[in-house]
Symmetry: C2
Subunit: 312 residues, 2 copies
């Protein structure tokens, strides 16, 4: 049984707490319509449902207020953007305080005319907006024309202390970048949440589709393993234009074991309990963070190219 | 059918070659005795066998000339170390030239009195020692007391151009570090080879054993996916002291798909064909390297701790 009590966060170096500490996650995998108000209404209803099942941290999918509009480049879609904080965060903050849950939500942020971001917010169980993360890695591929809409994030990689653990948030395309997971883990994250909108395209073979889905899940499980954290990916479902969003939201533990996984085509609230003690236990057995060769990683700041380190 | 012809390497920016180019890998998964000469003899025989099956790049497991001696700290084991280049590379160079194969081998390097490394070499098909990689990430856990034996590598992350592709080599514990895979891929590697000695310990549950094995495979598949490269892990088999080496050598493609996998307990030569065109094709579909936020990765050079990037 998970507890709703607020536990103090450990300080680094403090002796390990021996009892387990369960945190219940709720992942809202849903279908969207073209009506932002309807989607918000549904999101709110699903959050209520997740909370009623005991979820303590609830995460919505990427850009949950709209269809995934990036399938084409159309300036009219900038109308969907809103300030953050703004109308949506106000609704979600009130909801978080009422239900005493942490909410992670992905929004289309209007920063000013001509600067828009793909932004995720973390709202704590008292309704406070802890901060926002602006998607750092922006894709641009056929049917995912995000570079047209989203200015790359300029807030770096973030982690937010909540009543239910240290919450790191990254968004969709970020999930392919080990750097993003590592940097967020180094900020202290115990959970990596990935609101996502990833889909199969029409006309691809089933074999290729399954390979993409498997790669998507595998690379993220790899991040959980490499960093010794829990990881939750929250994807949408449904057909929108030429894209069939593949759902398959999941949570894995610090050993990369799948703790829960949603279907590829149905709306679902995925409820998963995570024992935070697993982080300490896993990192004691496999102390990767101890052994990173930080003095030899400068090449990570380069685009490509042979280093100048030579043999003796 | 794989070709033994030497193809010129592509220059960056050169138009894509449209035909596929198969490279046949041979992974030697073997059992070791306490006699280094016997192990070398077996390694040579297995390389001959792999070559006879058409393998063009052949990789031996970590420290193939001896038992995995790091189960205890004993200065006598430094006697096993040898200069690199030295007696073993001489044998392997002659063999490589005779068989016209590339050989990747892991050795216990004596650099000078008091400085020893866990070193891997790449020898080209003409018998030339292209260079060595000194294991950068050194574990130290019960039964893996490597920090006692091995000075951390000081040559950085390397890639070697061979007649059969760009070969990057990392060693065992490196396989848990996304930084190592990324840096080697950025050096141009098309293949990441991981000579390995990883084992189950006595008294662990079967569930735990399987979770460790799955995590080990998953994190490496994740590296292949994140970097768009082929990856080959070569592990030993057999019981040595308290360790049961779990074999399970495998090769995966740039989508993380397993192309071939050896058993967990038998000596085996795993032969796998890799189509180098898959690298170009995968990276075109999922251009992760294009979108890395290299100006925002400075935190990767830190051990831990919140960054100083704050909200507006």
């Amino acid at each position: 049984m998970s507890s709703r009590d607020q536990h103090p966060q450990h300080q680094h170096g403090e002796p390990q707490e021996t009892d387990s500490r369960l945190v219940r996650l709720g992942l809202v995998q849903m279908r969207c319509t073209s009506d932002p108000d309807q989607n918000l209404e549904k999101g709110v209803a699903q959050i209520r449902q997740a909370a009623s099942q005991g979820a303590q941290i609830i995460c919505l999918q990427e850009l949950f207020r709209s269809h995934y509009f990036c399938q084409k480049e159309d300036v009219a879609f900038f109308d969907l953007a809103e300030p953050v904080p703004g109308a949506t965060t106000q609704v979600l903050s009130q909801l978080a305080a009422e239900l005493q849950v942490v909410i992670v939500a992905s929004l289309f942020e209007k920063r000013t005319a001509g600067i828009y971001h793909n932004t995720a917010v973390v709202i704590d169980h008292e309704g406070k907006l802890l901060g926002k993360y602006r998607k750092m890695h922006i894709p641009d591929d056929p049917l995912y024309y995000e570079k047209f809409y989203f200015t790359p994030g300029d807030l770096g990689f973030r982690c937010y202390p909540t009543a239910h653990g240290q919450v790191g948030v990254l968004v969709c395309w970020d999930q392919w970048f080990p750097e993003a997971a590592r940097l967020t883990a180094l900020e202290g994250a115990q959970f990596l949440f990935y609101p996502t909108a990833i889909a199969w395209q029409q006309g691809e073979s089933e074999e290729n589709n399954q390979a993409q889905l498997a790669a998507w899940e595998t690379v993220q499980r790899g991040h959980a393993i490499a960093n010794g954290v829990f990881l939750a990916a929250v994807n949408r479902v449904g057909q929108e234009g030429e894209l069939t969003f593949w759902g398959h939201s999941f949570v894995c533990d610090p050993l990369g074991r799948i703790l829960g996984r949603a279907s590829t085509d149905g709306e679902e609230i995925l409820i998963v309990d995570c024992d935070l003690e697993a982080i300490e236990a896993t990192r004691r057995s496999w102390p990767f963070l101890r052994d990173r060769r930080i003095e030899s990683y400068q090449g990570l700041l380069l685009r490509f190219g042979p280093s100048d380190v030579k043999d003796e």
